[in-house]
């Protein structure tokens, strides 16, 4: 469970109003741009504070936040996403470890869905963070520089990027991400992956 301090920190990053509970955060209409992707399901790896913070931020959009235990998506696949996609494949997003994205991407391929946004965030033991945005940054209006500027509040910036992602129908259909394998990292460094899976 995210504490009040974490929730307020996450909200502060973009100046949006802090609203407890599940009141939907609305944005002003921008008529010349494609509509935002409606993402109702967000996965966060409950082992990581950063992921929980992003989830807390996204709770304000009205999406349902699912905390996945031990990085294992089995429960949410069997009970939520699998049955939902069989009825109607819809966009999902998350801030998780890589294996969760790898599994969901493989499963998503069967439903015509692709990874449309993919960011990677290496958190080092000394606290510094290395960000890379591998796809969809423009659609999410996000840059590595902004994430670096956000410092410890980067999860909230990721949450905002996910919430404001606008698909571009003119873009070529993305292929497979490279979430299959873990990169070599210094001992005690952690790799978190931000992502959106959607029709493309």
């Amino acid at each position: 469970m995210t504490n009040r301090r974490e929730f307020l920190q996450a909200a502060a990053i973009s100046g949006l109003p802090v609203i407890a509970g599940t009141t939907r955060i609305t944005h002003a209409a921008q008529p010349d741009r494609p509509p935002r992707l409606d993402i109702q399901t967000i996965l966060v790896d409950e082992r990581h504070t950063e992921a929980r913070n992003a989830g807390a931020r996204l709770a304000g959009t009205g999406a349902t936040i699912h905390a996945i235990p031990d990085g294992d998506i089995t429960g949410i696949w069997l009970n939520q996403i699998g049955p939902a996609w069989r009825e109607l494949p819809t966009a999902i997003a998350g801030l998780t470890a890589r294996p969760a994205l790898f599994c969901l991407e493989q499963l998503a391929l069967n439903f015509g869905l692709r990874v449309v946004f993919h960011g990677e965030h290496i958190v080092y033991p000394d606290g510094h963070i290395e960000h890379s945005l591998l796809r969809g940054a423009e659609n999410a209006q996000l840059s590595v520089r902004e994430l670096a500027r956000a410092r410890a509040l980067w999860p909230a910036r990721i949450a905002d990027a996910i919430a404001s992602y606008r698909p571009n129908a003119d873009r070529p259909r993305p292929g497979r991400s490279d979430a299959a394998l873990e990169p070599t990292l210094p001992r005690d460094a952690q790799l978190l992956t931000s992502w959106i899976i959607a029709a493309a």
Binding site: L78, R98, R176, A180, R187
Partner: protein, 508 residues
């Protein structure tokens, strides 16, 4: 756009257009990004010229469309590589053995055709995953279990045909052995049904396995003699309970009588669960030299008596420690489901990937892997011999370098079989992958000298391993080639799979 080898651009374009008419243009994939989806994520040659890749893919939705695709391929001599869900990770995934083949993607054929609770069987299409079949059974509230592998996202048919296995009870764990009847599209587009399915209007296709005359089902296991479009499987009626015991010893040599007892109990079908052997010096200091986990499924009263019998047999070996676990009655409670290994209860899951990913117990994962899993005689003496063999040769195959190769893991999960698994991490570092390949090849050769060989292999090593099965001047391979030439004379289906090449691609 890539063109398959030995196919002219004109012929390929003609075939592509014919396929588009047969299955719909949206189901023929030639763009680089679409074809890249069929790359093997765990390929030991990833990103190198030797990586086996598809040239295109076609996804039919019905057996009639499969027939059409195959006939077109045959007409134009285009190599096809059928896949079911394409998740055969560590064994080649969705990538063809013969690079440049067109993937015949059967994922759209994903119907569970029948689940018969009364006679406990299912009939499925190749695109049905263990998750799909599990969900179908749960929704219909049928009191039968599937036997999933780990992970459970693969195809029920694909896993069985590749020699995969699961984690519940005998006789369901050996997935090919648990099948009953199949429908196959041959290279000329003809449909064959095996067993009782060859009798029109038969109602026992998924009940009685053999039918009449020579049994041909085995031709389609780990092979390239046809495209399987339906397959039946025996299912386990939900067992009332599971009881388990762990038997440990501090003495290395005790594994000899322990394995003899285990073999007796399994061969008597007193113990029917997926047994596990652990130890062999891989645990922390002071831990048991060996342990065996002994699970039994069945009615509560019956398995209580069977467990008492099993414990008495083990207790005859001095110095063993035997600890019985709680009896778990099914269906499990949510609390129980949160702490058991779900595959042992017929529940497919993906926890393996989380375990293989970065976590406190695994701080430096590569994520990908391949495995060398030779079959060794099922005795304690052979197991100890393999342990010595591994320790004596590890440095030789790795050139003295620590490559983080893991093993051996001793697997008794299939009846009458002992597999000694060695795992090689695979990543995106080409130099490291090359070292892993050399180590793998080293193990294959050294093991073959002792009469041990692989039961299932990644595409990259299938030729190497097929070479080791060389009795009587490779008479088995020659028999398979004779059959291949007769059944698929143009050699269009899965060229090279498990070392069987069509005539025009065979080395002299």
């Amino acid at each position: 756009m890539s063109i398959p080898p030995n196919v002219s651009p004109t012929a390929f374009n003609t075939a592509l257009n014919a396929w588009r008419k047969a299955v719909g243009p949206e189901w023929v994939f030639t763009s680089d990004e679409a074809v890249a989806l069929y790359r093997d994520a765990y390929s030991p040659y990833y990103g190198e010229p030797e990586e086996r890749v598809a040239s295109a893919a076609v996804a039919p939705a019905s057996v009639e469309q499969v027939q059409a695709v195959v006939r077109i391929a045959n007409q134009h001599r285009i190599p096809l590589y059928p896949i079911s869900t394409g998740r055969n990770l560590a064994y080649g995934g969705s990538a063809p053995v013969y690079s440049g083949s067109v993937v015949l993607d059967l994922k759209r054929m994903n119907r569970v055709l029948e689940v018969n609770e009364r006679n406990a069987y299912a009939l499925v299409e190749p695109g049905v995953s263990y998750f799909d079949l599990y969900e179908h059974i749960q929704k219909a509230k049928l009191d039968v279990w599937i036997d999933p592998p780990d992970p459970g996202w693969g195809s029920v048919i694909g896993n069985a045909l590749d020699g995969g296995g699961g984690w519940t009870a005998y006789p369901f764990r050996d997935h090919f052995a648990a099948h009953c009847g199949m429908e196959v599209v041959l290279a000329n587009g003809e449909i064959v049904r095996t067993g009782m399915g060859a009798l029109p209007n038969s109602k026992s296709w998924q009940q009685s396995r053999w039918g009449f005359g020579p049994w041909v089902d085995g031709l389609f296991r780990q092979s390239n003699f046809g495209v399987v479009t339906k397959m039946g499987f025996y299912l386990m009626p939900r067992p009332e309970a599971l009881i388990s015991a762990t038997v440990t010893t501090m003495r290395d040599e005790d594994i000899v009588p322990m394995l003899d007892v285990l073999n007796l109990l399994e061969n008597q079908v007193v113990v029917n669960g997926s047994t596990q052997i652990f130890g062999g010096g891989r645990g922390p200091a002071g831990s048991a030299a060996w342990g065996i986990q002994v699970p039994i499924y069945g009615p509560e009263k019956v398995i209580r008596a069977q467990m008492d019998y099993a414990k008495a047999k083990f207790a005859a070996i001095p110095g063993l420690n035997i600890v019985e676990s709680e009896m778990l009655r099914t269906p499990l409670t949510p609390e129980q489901m949160a702490r058991v290994r779900l595959v042992n209860f017929g529940i497919p899951n993906l926890s393996t990937f989380a375990l293989l990913g970065r976590n406190p117990g695994n701080p430096d994962p590569a994520g990908g892997h391949i495995g060398f899993s030779p079959i060794v005689p099922r005795t304690g003496e052979s197991l100890l011999e393999f342990k010595r063999f591994y320790n004596e040769n590890l440095s030789k195959v790795t050139g003295g370098e620590n490559l983080n190769i893991q093993g051996p893991v001793y697997m008794t999960c299939w009846e009458r079989t002992l597999v000694c698994l060695i795992m090689f991490p695979i990543g995106r570092d080409k130099a490291l992958n090359a070292k892993m390949r050399r180590a793998f090849e080293g193990w294959v050769k050294l093991a073959a000298e002792r009469g041990w060989a692989e039961y299932r292999a990644p595409a990259a090593f299938q030729d190497l391993i097929a070479e080791t099965y060389s009795y009587n001047n490779h008479s088995l391979r020659k028999l398979r080639e004779t059959l291949k030439d007769a059944i698929d004379p143009n050699g269009i289906i899965s060229a090279g799979r498990y070392g069987v090449w069509p005539k025009h691609l065979r080395k002299a």
